[in-house]
């Protein structure tokens, strides 16, 4: 973790501010295995019906599934729906 990130985490903890705001962490809302709503993403790295890779600050989220589609695609948020098998966080 870089010094900047450590400072941000410390500020967040001290001032009791949600870390997704200060550290720009992704925020996920998962509805069963059918739907994932993600905020604070950094774009799509790879997309096919069975695998989706979404970038976020400091890593990427890999979603394995079937018939994956993107019903909402906005600069700050996106929604993934389909048959979701796994979510895998890969921190770089």
């Amino acid at each position: 973790m870089s010094k900047k990130e450590m400072f941000r985490a410390a500020v967040s903890q001290t001032l009791d501010i949600p870390s997704e705001l200060t550290c720009d962490l992704p925020r996920l809302v998962i509805s069963g295995n059918k739907n994932v709503f993600m905020e604070n993403h950094r774009g799509i790295i790879h997309y096919d019906p069975n695998r989706l890779e979404i970038a976020f600050r400091g890593g990427k989220l890999e979603i394995q599934g079937d018939n994956l589609i993107l019903p909402i695609l906005k600069p700050d948020a996106l929604e993934i729906s389909g048959e979701i098998f796994s979510l895998n966080f890969i921190v770089i």
Binding site: I44, I45, Y47, D48, L70, P71, I72, L73, P75
Partner: protein, 398 residues
């Protein structure tokens, strides 16, 4: 959300190329919303974008080296554009809409409703008069001469007391009320008399002769407005024969209502102990059978409530609820007893006050009870302002 997208209009696009992710990320960066994005094949996706964003996508396509094609445009604007391609269909739709507006805004029938008895010929004649004054079939509902027509009908038919119009869709209804009721009332001669004891505060004679001055006490049954009009000269001698009318007028006056109540300072109230003895009995042909419970409860003091199910039938089901109580001695302060007595007295007095009467004053008097310090008495007097007059027909026929 779906409706707003449809109203604004959107396009289904197909994107094809090597770096489709880059195209999507660039679109997001430039605030171009994309929805329902799905991969059809490798290097071939499909999505939806707003129509106004298509121009922006062209530049993104150029930068990212991805080709996109619009496969379909959907929305209200597209629908309207399609209509312009079919002028005949558009003309027909506009014509139908115009006809619908004309149909709903015109008069397609005139009916009459009468409050009273009128023959068919009279009804037809009234409708004919209405038509003469501009209330007829085939006219535009707006700007109809309502006032002129009602005035004209009332002038033509003096036996009508009131004429009005109402719209019931495309049907226009002429409503009329006959004067018969009023005439029938006027045919009964009589006085306006006091319906209760009071003092007259306001008197407005509409028909008849006032007999009581303002601020004068009246007894129940006393004539306030006389139906028999006396023709007298200054000295009080009759100048002509008396005439009789149906006395009418507005009579307002003050009336007083009294409620007295007594409250014992040492009150004994039954307090339930919690013990109960319920029973269910069935009565069949004058014979009572105990179904459930006990006949002998053995309570010294108790309250009993009886519920009869299916009363009046051959099979009568009765539920008896017996609760044991014990006397509870409550001692109130004199102030509490006074307040309770005042409340009870007020309730007694207000029971006699009419619905339309307006209470203008309330007086509370404490009643002295000689040789008894335990009972507190209060008299509550309510003064009201209300209608004191009531019509009473003459007993003899004039």
């Amino acid at each position: 959300m779906g409706i707003s997208k449809y109203l604004v209009g959107y396009a289904i696009i197909k994107i094809e190329g090597e770096s489709l992710e880059a195209f999507t990320n660039l679109a997001m960066e430039r605030n171009v919303p994309i929805w329902d994005l799905m991969p059809i094949d490798k290097n071939f996706w499909q999505g939806k974008v707003p129509l106004k964003a298509l121009a922006g996508l062209r530049h993104i396509s150029h930068v990212s080296g991805v080709y996109f094609t619009v496969s379909k445009k959907i929305g209200v604007s597209q629908w309207w554009r399609k209509l312009t391609y079919h002028p005949v269909a558009t003309t027909v739709i506009i014509l139908v809409l115009c006809l619908l507006v004309i149909y709903t805004q015109s008069v397609l029938g005139v009916r009459i409703s009468v409050d009273g008895d009128l023959s068919h010929q009279e009804k037809t004649a009234i409708l004919q008069t209405a038509a003469d004054y501009g209330i007829d079939v085939g006219l535009w509902q707006r700007n109809l001469p309502w006032d002129k027509a009602s005035h004209g009908i009332l002038t033509t038919y003096p036996n009508l007391a009131w004429v009005g119009f109402s719209r019931d869709g495309v049907i226009l209804r002429v409503k009329v009320i006959l004067k018969d009721e009023e005439n029938r009332n006027n045919a009964i001669y009589g006085d306006v008399v006091a319906k209760k004891d009071g003092v007259i505060r306001e008197l407005l004679v509409l028909q008849g002769q006032g007999r009581v001055p303002i601020n004068t006490p009246v007894k129940k049954g006393e004539v306030i407005i006389g139906g028999e009009i006396l023709h007298l000269d200054e000295e009080g001698n009759p100048t002509a024969d008396n005439t009789v009318v149906h006395a009418k007028g507005i009579v307002f006056g003050s009336a007083w209502y009294i409620g007295e109540a007594y409250v014992n300072i040492n009150e004994v109230k039954p307090k339930p102990t919690g013990k109960k003895c319920d029973k269910l009995t069935v009565k069949w042909r004058n014979t009572e059978y105990l179904v459930w419970g006990n006949n002998n409860h053995g309570f010294k003091d108790f309250t009993a409530v009886k519920h009869v199910v299916l009363p009046g039938m051959n099979l009568e089901v009765t539920i008896d609820k017996v609760r044991e109580v014990r006397p509870q001695y409550l001692q109130k302060s004199k102030k509490q007893a006074m307040a309770e007595a005042e409340k009870k007295g007020y309730q007694k007095a207000i029971l006699a006050v009419g619905v339309k009467a307006k209470i203008v004053d309330k007086k509370v008097e404490h009643l002295a009870i000689p040789n008894n310090n335990e009972i507190v008495g209060v008299r509550v007097t309510l003064e009201t302002r209300e209608n004191l007059g009531v019509f009473q027909g003459f007993e003899s026929n004039f």
